[in-house]
């Protein structure tokens, strides 16, 4: 964070792509640590209380979000490399 430009990139550390990637990574924290938002039984899913299936659904959601962050970061890295070359 406190790092100043690594040799190959003279571009700013904070870019829109990185902000979006960051948000993708932060979202699961907000969702999971806000326990009161999901601490209830109803609605159930095939008999499983909301508390359980909601959190398991977040496994999938956070996987998608992390993948998006991965793609974004990778794309930007490639762009930077091409730019530097």
């Amino acid at each position: 964070m406190a790092e100043k430009a690594a040799p190959p990139d003279r571009r700013p550390v904070v870019t829109p792509t990185r902000v979006v990637a960051g948000l993708c990574l932060i979202a699961p924290f907000i969702a999971m640590l806000w326990v009161s938002s999901y601490a209830r039984i109803e609605p159930t899913l095939i008999g499983i209380p909301f508390f359980y299936w909601y959190q398991m659904a977040w496994v999938l959601i956070s996987t998608v979000l992390t993948s998006v962050a991965y793609k974004l970061v990778q794309r930007e890295q490639r762009a930077r490399k091409d730019g530097a070359a």
């Binding site: 924290f29 009161s36 398991m56 999938l60 956070s62």
Partner: protein, 556 residues
């Protein structure tokens, strides 16, 4: 049906040895043992007597091997035994393991690639190596190394509890009346086998066995999660029964648990999830598996496929409720809930497969953990302090010996701590290991923190965490009975590890300001900003990595 009185327990207990299940279990165990010894030849390098080879498998693992290795590493007997047992005992509270593993991945996505890069530029094998290089402080590096050693022991102990639970249900764990030697003999045998092949094959053994382990575990879970609910009348029935059972007031006058985390339990739930997530990748064994991967991208790609295991963990956790519904007789030890459920529900031969999955699921991480602890000791205690001119062969030898000693330490935890809440083994280690985070993760992003401030913060966190955990009583023991305590200043019950971590950070920040004002020497930083983003193909980073041991030829 849940708190079976001892008399009926003793009448029910002598189911004797389940021959078929035992035979299947022994078959898999032997197969895996043979694999473990043969693993030494897998992708063998010409020059193998150095720490890079034994301890990091030559640093050559790609996405899939890394995935299996990390999965084998992180989802352990803890997954199979302790988490469902916690659900079985207290309901919703035990489910914190799911948000915990959800939060791990976005977290490591941000810092592990940096650690990979800097480690590959400078040939770091352990986190302590990095801390020493970054802060130029042997003292801080020693603190990190000792914490790693200490924290690993209860975690290995947790694996042993898993194996023991299986052996008990198989009927070879010895009854309550057997003397301790007969009782623990099968455990000691399993343990000796583990120690022997780790000793001879290093990281290659668990990496190879991890394939078998995960194959078995996925098979068992898929079958369990479909077959058992059908036998028990569906999830609706299961949760209905669980709700009634959890509402029953226990000996403490409070209900046994809740079906959804109640207002008084939510702080604990969130802090346990967050604290555990922060702690996980501070453990030496997680780092070992990470550094053995081939490139930076292998790690990031893994953060997108590892959550598959979390889904599995969630499904497994639900087995705890199934054990409630099925009225599983745990003979007063909740750790037996899942093995016993399998024994009751599955035909003998498949119960054997399930037990093998749990047993091997405990062996793999135990092996990786002991190797990681050994790396740590060798590099950062032995070489830095005891014998700076050690040859690679000597390092190799010491590492192997320490991997044995750590396992013995783990045995000590098993024999002295309250096994009925084995999940605390993992949380206790977490309290300690979390205190190394400011130095490690802080160091990966900034050099602002002062090394002495980090050391002081660490000490405060360690002392507070240990004292607070010491003060927690459980129904069966006076000290170290749990990992939650009141958070000073907030008044809610929360995870001790996280409270200690916050204290640690506060002390570190304040002292950094003070030390900077006093112009205390900062120490030399041998890394440069570019080191943290380097990848395979960049200048100075090659696919063939620098030797971990100074002066040794690269082992490839």
């Amino acid at each position: 049906m849940t708190t079976t009185p001892l008399t009926t327990t003793l009448a029910a207990a002598p189911q004797g040895v389940n021959g078929v299940a035992l035979a299947v279990f022994v078959f898999f165990f032997l197969a895996v043992t043979v694999m473990g010894f043969l693993a030494a030849r897998w992708r063998k390098a010409e020059q193998s007597a150095n720490l890079d080879e034994w301890g990091l498998g030559g640093r050559s693992f790609g996405t899939w091997v890394t995935w299996f290795l990390l999965g084998g590493d992180l989802y352990t007997a803890y997954t199979f035994v302790a988490v469902p047992a916690a659900i079985y005992t207290a309901g919703a509270a035990g489910f914190f393991a799911v948000p915990y593993t959800i939060l791990v991945y976005p977290l490591i996505f941000t810092f592990l690639p940096r650690l990979w890069s800097v480690s590959h530029r400078h040939g770091y094998v352990t986190t302590s190596d990095f801390v020493r290089g970054r802060f130029g402080s042997k003292g801080l590096s020693l603190a990190v190394a000792l914490t790693g050693l200490l924290a690993t022991m209860p975690y290995i102990a947790l694996q042993l509890v898993g194996i023991q639970a299986v052996l008990d249900v198989l009927g070879v764990g010895g009854g309550a009346d057997a003397n301790w030697f007969v009782k623990d003999l099968p455990l000691l045998i399993a343990f000796a086998v583990l120690a022997a092949y780790t000793y001879s094959s290093g990281l290659r053994a668990p990496a190879l066995i991890a394939f078998v382990k995960d194959g078995l575990i996925y098979l068992v879970i898929v079958v369990a999660i479909i077959y058992i609910p059908i036998k028990l009348g569906g999830f609706g029935e299961i949760f209905h029964a669980a709700k009634d059972t959890l509402a029953v007031h226990g000996p403490t006058g409070k209900p046994r648990g809740e079906l959804a985390s109640g207002p008084n339990a939510q702080w604990a739930y969130a802090t346990l999830a967050l604290g555990s997530a922060l702690a996980l990748f501070m453990y030496p064994h997680s780092i070992t598996a990470t550094l053995s991967s081939r490139s930076r991208n292998v790690i990031r790609r893994n953060t997108t496929i590892l959550p598959l295991y979390s889904l599995m963990l969630g499904l497994l956790a639900l087995l705890g409720f199934m054990a409630i519904k099925a009225g599983t007789d745990t003979r007063g030890n909740a750790q037996l809930a899942i093995p016993q459920l399998f024994e009751d529900m599955f035909p003998s031969w498949f119960a054997g497969v399930a037990f093998a999955a749990i047993g091997i699921g405990a062996l793999v991480p135990a092996a990786i953990m002991s190797i990681a602890a050994a790396n740590l000791f060798t590099r950062n205690v032995y070489k830095d302090f005891l014998k700076p001119d050690a040859t690679p062969e000597q390092e190799h030898k010491v590492a192997k010996l320490v991997s044995l000693l750590v396992k013995v330490g783990a045995l000590a935890f098993v024999l002295t701590m309250d096994k009925t809440v084995a999940i605390n083994f993992q949380l206790l280690g977490g309290i300690w290991i979390l205190q190394t985070m400011p130095a490690l993760v802080g160091g990966l992003f900034t050099r602002w923190f002062h090394r002495w401030a980090l050391l002081a913060g660490w000490a405060v966190g360690m002392v507070y965490g240990t004292l607070a955990a010491y003060g927690v009583a459980s129904p069966t023991q006076k000290h170290f009975g749990g990992s939650n305590a009141q958070i000073p200043g907030i008044g809610e019950i929360g995870y001790i590890g996280l409270t200690a971590f916050v204290l640690n950070v506060v002390v570190t920040v304040v002292l950094t300001f003070v030390l900077k004002a006093l112009k205390a020497p900062e120490g030399t930083d041998e890394t440069s900003p570019g080191d943290y983003t380097a990848d395979v193909g960049d200048a100075g980073v090659t696919a063939d990595l620098p030797p971990a041991t100074a002066g040794a030829p690269a082992g490839h």
